[in-house]
């Protein structure tokens, strides 16, 4: 089949990828900088073609609960929002995790805290990878750095969510959401049939077809011993995800004396700085985590024993650096952070200057 190559925004790519993946339902509420996802879906009218339900909810709270309702019936359902809206969804996300429901949540991050700014940021890293809502749970967190990955991670997010019966999140930043790039759209596939859903999701609330036992989707358990067992089951799932699903990309790490660690759009700016440094003979490599949870701790630990120093670059005040330091624990490699916040995106010169501030003297020896 001929490739379907388009030029579009990351947000639009998510909408098109969702239709092509065979998503059953999208439930959203407008918020900058991700409203193009809902707008594109409404304009595409997929209910006329694939039968996909698209609904503008009355709030982010309602939207995530619609996702909970749809996921409870075994359907592939998703929502998207941006930082303040994702805060509102946290209760529902906790319920999804606790009820072991697959779903996809997209966060196109803007600057915070509070109403903050509509401009790009990566300051929801903690919220996404450490929990966000109440209770002991994890989200599979995917960090796209291109419009292509915005499109590709829809399928990946759903596949992982259904494989492990747990919600996954695309944690994008406003840059990846808003910028236009070339994207190869995934081939379209049909939505699952009722029979396929019954086979894949025997736990789903679909009505007691064939007189089977009732399916009850609930996170409530008043017997503490049973609740502890439930929590232990969740943790076993999370351990399995940590074993199987770590994803990252490395650039120039083979001969690197120094390492930058960055995710999302800022990783591409780091790559440019690294090219500039290499032109001066300074060998820096880059590790770009693709899954922020599970975090590529083992690979960072390995590299931390090879390099002389590390710079973690983020569009926030220093969040992922905590996980990098945990991964490098036991080594005495110096680890520094460089970050700008709330819409101020550094150029490659600034990133390189930050690197030279910490490592300039020794790296030029």
């Amino acid at each position: 089949m001929e490739e379907d190559v388009r030029l579009m925004k990351g947000n639009e790519a998510i909408a098109h990828a969702a239709i092509r993946y065979g998503v059953d339902g999208y439930f959203g509420y407008p918020i900058t900088p991700q409203s193009e996802i809902l707008e594109t879906l409404e304009a595409e009218m997929p209910w006329e073609t694939t039968g996909m339900v698209v609904l503008q909810a009355e709030s982010e709270v309602a939207a995530i609960n619609m996702v909970y309702g749809g996921a409870s019936t075994g359907k592939a359902v998703m929502t998207s929002s941006s930082s303040p809206g994702i805060s509102l969804k946290q209760e529902g996300i906790s319920y999804l995790a606790a009820t072991e429901l697959p779903a996809l949540i997209v966060n196109v991050m803007r600057g915070g805290p509070g109403l903050g700014t509509i401009h790009p940021s990566q300051s929801d890293y903690f919220q996404a990878v450490k929990g966000g809502g109440h209770g002991d749970y994890r989200l599979i967190v995917l960090a796209p750095s291109s419009v292509q990955e915005m499109a590709d991670f829809v399928a990946l997010g759903f596949d992982l969510a259904f494989k492990y019966r747990t919600p996954s999140m695309i944690l994008a930043d406003g840059i990846v959401g808003q910028m236009m790039e070339k994207v190869v759209l995934p081939p379209a596939r049909p939505r699952r049939t009722a029979e396929q859903i019954a086979e894949q999701c025997p736990w789903a609330a679909t009505g007691r077809r064939g007189g089977r036992k009732p399916n009850v989707l609930t996170s409530l358990e008043l017997d503490s011993a049973v609740m502890e067992k439930n929590n232990e089951r969740f943790q076993r799932t999370y351990s399995e995800i940590e074993r199987n699903e770590v994803r990252y990309q490395e650039y120039f790490t083979d001969d690197a004396d120094y390492l930058m660690v960055a995710f999302g759009s800022i990783a591409r700016i780091c790559l440019k700085s690294i090219e500039m440094a290499r032109a001066q003979g300074i060998k820096i490599g880059l590790l770009r985590p693709i899954t922020l949870w599970p975090f590529p701790s083992a690979e960072i630990a390995r590299l931390s024993r090879k390099v002389k120093g590390m710079l973690v670059v983020e569009l926030n005040a220093g969040q992922m650096i905590e996980d990098v330091k945990l991964a490098a624990a036991g080594t005495d490699v110096p680890i520094y952070h460089f970050g700008r916040m709330g819409g101020i995106v550094p150029n490659p010169d600034e990133v390189l200057a930050a690197f030279m501030k910490h490592f300039g003297n020794e790296s030029q020896k």
Partner: protein, 255 residues
């Protein structure tokens, strides 16, 4: 006459609905929930909807509704049942989808979801148990608590200058273009039970036929929360609750 003779089919006029299981209900003596549960179990059986029914349970006393009626259930976060039911029904239009909610769940924390689901005309049935109090958490004021009524958070009685007025959310639901059927019933007498059952039957039928949102309020007692005997609670309900929440049909566009 032996027990075997008595329970011969020709002698049976009343029996436990098959979908109401053997689990011991946690409801207090005199509580209306048990009766409404029974009505729902009977109707799903009578209407042949056992393989189609998806119930959405609330947070409140009826949080465990899923333990007693043998159908598929989704347990909602507090107040969010209408949003959950919205998606369940839109994605499964051939199913019966209903919510079962108390006054705190539906008319306080879930007001937004309730109003908007009803205003969109989602093809769901909303069963609203209004007993004017938070039962499960120990008898606090509800949005529907009557003026002067004592609760654990209005120990000297509800004062409108402090707590506002009792909310007649069913009257609001009747104003919305998306609702097709809005009614207020009770289950304190056999005659009332028959009327309430007819109302819920209509609501379920509307959901299956895609007529819009059906909203059935059941004015109910909470003998524990009201600190009354079941008998006194029924009398108090008739004398006080029905004045603020009069029984009868508020809207029916399906006739």
């Amino acid at each position: 006459m032996t027990r075997q003779d008595i329970i011969k089919p020709e002698n049976l006029v009343y029996e436990k609905p098959r979908l109401l299981n053997e689990n011991h209900m946690h409801y207090c003596p005199g509580c209306s929930h048990g009766v409404v549960h029974r009505i729902i179990a009977e109707l799903i059986e009578e209407m042949g909807l056992e393989e189609k029914a998806i119930g959405v349970a609330p947070v409140g006393c009826a949080v465990f509704a899923y333990k007693y009626i043998d159908i598929d259930w989704i347990e909602a976060a507090h107040g969010r049942a209408p949003a959950i039911a919205t998606a369940a029904k839109r994605l499964n239009p051939e199913n019966l989808v209903f919510t079962y909610q108390g006054d705190g769940d539906l008319a306080a924390i879930g007001t937004c979801e309730t109003i908007h689901a009803a205003n969109r005309g989602e093809n769901i049935a909303i069963i609203f148990i209004n007993n004017g109090i938070y039962g499960m958490t120990g008898g606090q004021m509800a949005p529907t608590t009557l003026e002067g009524m004592k609760t654990s958070t209005t120990p000297y009685g509800r004062r409108v200058d402090l707590n506002g007025y009792p909310l007649r959310i069913t009257d609001i639901a009747a104003q919305l273009d998306g609702t097709c059927y809005v009614t207020r019933q009770a289950v304190h007498t056999p005659a009332a039970v028959r009327k309430a059952k007819a109302a819920i039957r209509q609501a379920f039928k509307n959901s299956m036929e895609g007529r819009g949102t059906s909203f059935v309020e059941i004015v109910s007692t909470c003998s524990s929360g009201w600190k009354m005997t079941p008998e006194a609670a029924n009398k108090w309900m008739e004398e006080h609750m029905f004045e603020k929440y009069p029984l009868g049909e508020l809207k029916n566009t399906v006739k």
